[in-house]
């Protein structure tokens, strides 16, 4: 009962109160800030499934976000698919690429996996940048149709807000069920000690691939939302720095925690907007928040495991077995 009540409160807050406040403070620009934060909440929550829950340091998430955005943009501009088809299509295509690209890296451990995902992110970015015939390269794709349904609603900031807000709610619900369940325990066991998890009958490789696939699905949906809400995308939106931003949001909010992912995205994207009056100094404040949260909140605001613990495991495991350096047999 209390659970149902709290879900209701959250839904009212997201769907009624927040848009009300945004309209009151002047709408327009603030709605765009809110949709950007929403897109990054989905990205951070999904990356959190890989890094926070399953314990694989992924620093190529922006690449998968890009695959989703380009899938939606190309389907919408070339084939004129409506948003309700491009969104799930972007998710499925991204999950497919996620599995395909992750398969060879699944037996890599620790820092080697992190470096491999960095490489994947860069490969995707460079492909988007240089495959001019297909992606239009650095010119990007413009005039992507917005989120609209004939006769019901047309593209506007408020419609964008609601689309993103609903996607955030659905993603939080699905990822919440995946993590707050016995299945989530299986993923956490992989994070804590993958060999021990295997000796308890868990299929570690399958669990890793599944968590990667789910995370990539939602990264793809986030990319599609980005494409439809902004109307223009270019490879510059999906660079390595975006992956690091997602990682920072996870770390500030707390690894392994879904509410933490939301808090992290709100802090790191909201602060620069709130601090706009103090001009360029605001990015220093944002940096300081990241720095201080690492110093004083090693588990982040709401995390269930500390960054250091994950990092130590990342580095420690890599030298576990000298003969198969960086690999799990």
């Amino acid at each position: 009962m209390r659970r149902k009540l709290s879900i209701l409160v959250i839904l009212i807050a997201v769907l009624v109160v927040l848009p009300g406040i945004l309209v009151a403070v002047g709408g327009g620009y603030w709605f765009r800030v809110a949709t950007t934060i929403g897109v990054f909440i989905i990205l951070t929550m999904s990356a959190n499934l890989i890094t926070g829950t399953t314990g694989l340091m992924s620093i190529g998430h922006a690449g998968f976000y890009g695959i989703g955005a380009y899938t939606a943009a190309l389907l919408a501009t070339n084939l004129h698919w409506p948003f309700y088809l491009t969104l799930p299509a972007a998710g499925v295509v991204t999950a497919f690429f996620g599995i395909l690209l992750a398969l060879p890296t699944m037996r890599l451990i620790g820092i080697y996996f992190a470096v491999a995902t960095l490489g994947l992110g860069e490969i995707i970015h460079l492909t988007l940048l240089n495959w001019v015939g297909f992606t239009r390269g650095p010119m990007g794709i413009s005039a992507i149709p917005g989120i609209a349904l004939d006769g019901l609603f047309s593209a506007s900031d408020i419609v964008n807000y609601y689309a993103v807000a609903l996607a955030v709610v659905v993603a939080a619900f699905a990822l919440g069920r995946l993590t707050h369940s016995y299945y989530g325990n299986a993923l956490r066991a992989v994070r804590e000690d993958d060999q021990c998890a295997a000796s308890m009958g868990l299929n570690v490789v399958r669990l890793k691939i599944q968590s990667f696939a789910f995370a990539c699905f939602f990264a793809g949906v986030a990319g599609a939302l980005w494409a439809h809400t902004t109307g223009y995308i270019s490879p510059a939106d999906f660079r390595f720095s975006e992956s690091i931003l997602i990682l920072a949001m996870m770390v500030v909010g707390g690894l392994g925690s879904l509410p933490g992912a939301i808090v992290g995205a709100v802090i790191l994207l909201g602060l620069p907007e709130v601090l706009r009056p103090i001009g360029d100094y605001r990015m220093i404040v944002v940096g300081a928040v990241m720095f201080l949260s690492i110093l004083f909140l090693p588990r982040g605001v709401l995390g269930e495991t500390s960054v250091l613990a994950v990092m130590r495991r990342q580095f420690g495991l890599a030298w576990d077995n000298v003969k198969h350096l960086g690999w799990r047999q």
């Binding site: 995946l178 308890m200 868990l202």
Partner: protein
């Protein structure tokens, strides 16, 4: 009633570079039997355990469990067949609660599917939590079920590791130095607990340095030195065997060097 042994190790050999860690080891564990494996440090006991549980691949030889060859399986598949183990250096998951730690074993037994999680399947979750509570009560951990594993005492963590293995509903329980680091009272209690499990039909294979523990608990003892099996018999036979005494006490320098 089958008469074949539950676990049968045939000429198991494992090389690490030039080192023969396990050298042509053969041995069996009968159904319901309590078998001890002893030997000086570096004899290859833990390596042998890793071979049996398919953590490390065999260089040659084979391992049969319940009449089927498991040599080429992966460790998670072997675990699902009913072979559960604990580790020499405790490997509980410190950031997870005691309950969640034990549920890992139950997950191994019941399987893990994201579909069940997404659809919130009641029956599946109830199966796992029932099994987890059963085992927690069995190991006397029900009162600390909500604690983080990191907060448990060393002794309790030993029980936690055994409980997690029991949640798999194994037929063979492999214990790597269960009594290490425990005082005499705790060791006696653990011995009693393990004997109870065995009385209920669980087969046991354990490595232990505490000779009293092994001699009291086990019906049969295998002795390993320098990767080879040098003796196999009842505790009484073993404690009188001159070859075993020599391996442990070292009658000449050459032997000592090998055992180290």
């Amino acid at each position: 009633m089958t008469t074949t042994p539950l676990l049968e190790i045939r000429n198991a050999t494992r090389r690490f570079g030039g080192l023969l860690a396990v050298d042509d080891f053969s041995g069996v564990v009968q159904r319901g039997e309590r078998v001890g494996l002893i030997g000086p440090n570096g004899a290859g006991k833990t390596t042998l355990f890793n071979l049996i549980t398919c953590f490390t691949p065999l260089s040659s030889g084979s391992v049969r469990f319940d009449d089927s060859d498991i040599s080429s399986l992966k460790s998670f598949e072997v675990a699902r067949l009913g072979m559960a183990r604990t580790f020499q250096n405790l490997r509980v998951m410190p950031n997870l609660s005691v309950f969640d730690n034990v549920s890992i074993g139950a997950l191994g037994a019941f399987g893990h599917s994201p579909v069940a999680a997404l659809l919130h399947r009641r029956g599946y979750a109830e199966d796992i939590s029932r099994r987890t509570w059963e085992v927690l009560e069995r190991a006397g951990l029900q009162d600390v079920a909500g604690e983080l594993a990191a907060n448990l005492s060393y002794g309790k963590r030993k029980y936690l590791e055994i409980a997690r293995a029991l949640a798999l509903s194994p037929r063979l329980l492999i214990l790597d130095e269960p009594a290490a680091g425990l005082n005499d009272t705790e060791t006696a209690q653990l011995g009693q607990f393990v004997r109870q499990l065995s009385d209920e039909g669980l087969s046991l294979l354990l490595v232990e340095h505490d000779m009293n523990f092994v001699m009291n608990l086990c019906e049969r003892v295998m002795v390993m030195a320098s990767g080879r099996k040098i003796a196999d018999g009842t505790p009484q036979e073993i404690s009188r065997d001159p070859i075993v005494l020599e391996a442990y006490l070292g009658s000449d320098i050459e032997n000592e060097g090998e055992a180290a």
